[in-house]
Structures are given as C-alpha cells and as structure tokens.
Symmetry: C2
Subunit: 170 residues, 2 copies
C-alpha cells in the first residue's frame, strides 16, 4: 500500500506514519482543517468592514492586554505598516485603545474597549465552539497528540514564544 516511500523503512510497522503517503495526508488535513478553523469568524466578519487581520489583532490584544505595538508585530509577523492600517480602523471604531507606556513613554500599550471585547468574544466564541466540538469528538488523548504535533511543526522561534506564553495556565 505504501506507494511511495522516500525513506528506507519499508516493512517497519512503527514508522508507517512517516511514509510519503501519510505525510501527504497530513499536509492536506492541515489545509482543509485550517479552512474550517477560520470559516466561522470569517463569516461573522464579512459584511463588517473587518477581515481576518482584524480578528488576529483583536485576539492577541485580548489575550495579553497592555502589549506594545512592537510586540504585537513580532507575534503577528507582519510589517508595521500592515498592522497600523488595521489598528487605525480599530482605534477609529473604538474597539481598541492605546495608553502611553509608564516606564517608556514612546510605547503604546494596547487594550480592548468594552466594544472591542464584545466583538472579540463573538469571534472567539464561534471559533472555540468549533474547536470544542472537534476536541469532544476526538477525545482527550487525541487532543494531546494534536497539540504535540502542532508544536513540533512551529518555527523554533514561535514555539519558544508559544510555550513560554502564559505557561502555567490561568
């Protein structure tokens, strides 16, 4: 059955999951799942003047209030010009506010307003609902594996950042 197999592991059952065919299936699963993953928030956003970029900004401002612009840039991995276009509309619409940094007054610390929290909640509720359904359907053991593989797939820099984030839960 293993049609193609770039490694020299033919006959080794324990490495079956590393055949090119299995890897290809994993790649496609990632592609289709990511589409599902973003579908619900996208649906909410369409019609509003916002898009996925706004969602991402809201998400990360929500999760670490008081973050600086530069930090958000690093997390999102875009240019400041891109982020700024997004932030400007969020400021203008009163979803996000910036407070001047106390120690370094050049910094602008970002926070959601009540209105911003409301939209963030709507978006993340939708996304969490899908994630919850998937988790529930798959079971705790599968979820554990899911998280393990995803972490292994990140760029090392992002993995460091990710596993470092709010580690102890809370």
């Amino acid at each position: 059955m293993a049609e193609k197999n770039s490694s020299t592991n033919a006959g080794n059952e324990s490495l079956l999951f590393l055949t090119d065919e299995q890897l290809r299936k994993g790649i496609e699963a990632m592609f289709f799942a990511y589409r599902g993953f973003t579908a619900d928030p996208d649906r909410i956003l369409e019609g509003m003047d916002y898009g996925r970029a706004h969602h991402r900004a809201l998400h990360f401002i929500h999760r670490t209030p008081g973050n600086t612009v530069g930090n958000l840039l690093a997390i999102l991995g875009v240019t400041k010009q891109s982020l700024n276009r997004v932030l400007r509309t969020l400021f203008d619409d009163g979803l996000v506010e910036a407070r001047t940094g106390k120690t370094d007054r050049r910094e602008r610390l970002l926070y959601l307003t009540e209105k911003g929290r409301a939209l963030e909640r709507a978006l993340s509720d939708a996304q969490r609902a899908r994630m919850r359904a998937a988790y529930r359907a798959a079971g705790p053991q599968a979820v554990q594996g899911f998280r393990t593989v995803l972490e292994a797939m990140m760029d090392p820099e992002m993995r460091r950042r990710f596993t470092g984030m709010a580690e102890g839960g809370q």
Copy 2:
C-alpha cells in the same frame, strides 16, 4: 460571562481539555503551526513568479492527475476567475497541461508536465520534511490524535471529500 470555563465541568479532570483556556491554546497553536507549515514552500516560491495559490494548484493536480477544472475549483474553494489566473501562468510556463476529456469534451483534464512535477516535488519535499520532523518528534500516537482532531475540525463537506479521497492509498 464565564471567563475561564464556559461549560459546567469544574473539577472534572477528564474534561479539562475543554476549558476555554485549553481551547484558546489550541487556537493559537493552529495559528502558529500553520505559519510554520507554509513557511518552507513560501520561501522556495518567493523570487519565482509564483505564490501559495500556485503551490496549492500544483499539489492537487499532482495528487489527482486528470482532474477537471471544476473539480479543482471545488477542492480549492475559490472562484474560477481566481483559479484561472493561476492556471494560465502554469500553462504558459509549461508546468501544467490540459487534455480534452474523452467522454465529455468540454472538460479539460489537468496534468503536470515533467517540469511541473519537478517544482511540485521541490515544494512538497520541503513541506514533507517539516511534517516528517514534527511527526518523528511527536511519535505515532500523537500523529494519530493530530489527524483525528484535524478531521473533526473540517467542514463536513470537506471531511467527506477528504476521507473519501484515495482512501486505500493509490
């Protein structure tokens, strides 16, 4: 509004993976992992006149040669105008060729040329290498869980299509 835990499962160890906090971590893991997932092919593509859209087309033409345009549209979930822009450049550059359908001559069956196969291979080798490393690091059990959760996260229509695809290998 239950900040941390929208369900009424406080104290239930087996459902800990369904807390909002866990779900949020899953969401972010998806975000960061997808970035890693696309990073290597993106790096290869940049500089060429191609982008992620070309990669996707090449991938699915490779995996089911002789597919029709309409079928590819359904898989990729884009408009024919978008796909056509991509396909045109791939035709022009001799990476993809279209043969007229035998039973229905309106259909154009898509195939990679040798040149197309070469680029597809370069891209997919890079992507598989990362996937393989992640799989290897995580182990077979985790991979099983990974796939289970991803499938549960797809839209039902896509899940049907995905699980139906080339099931027994081929």
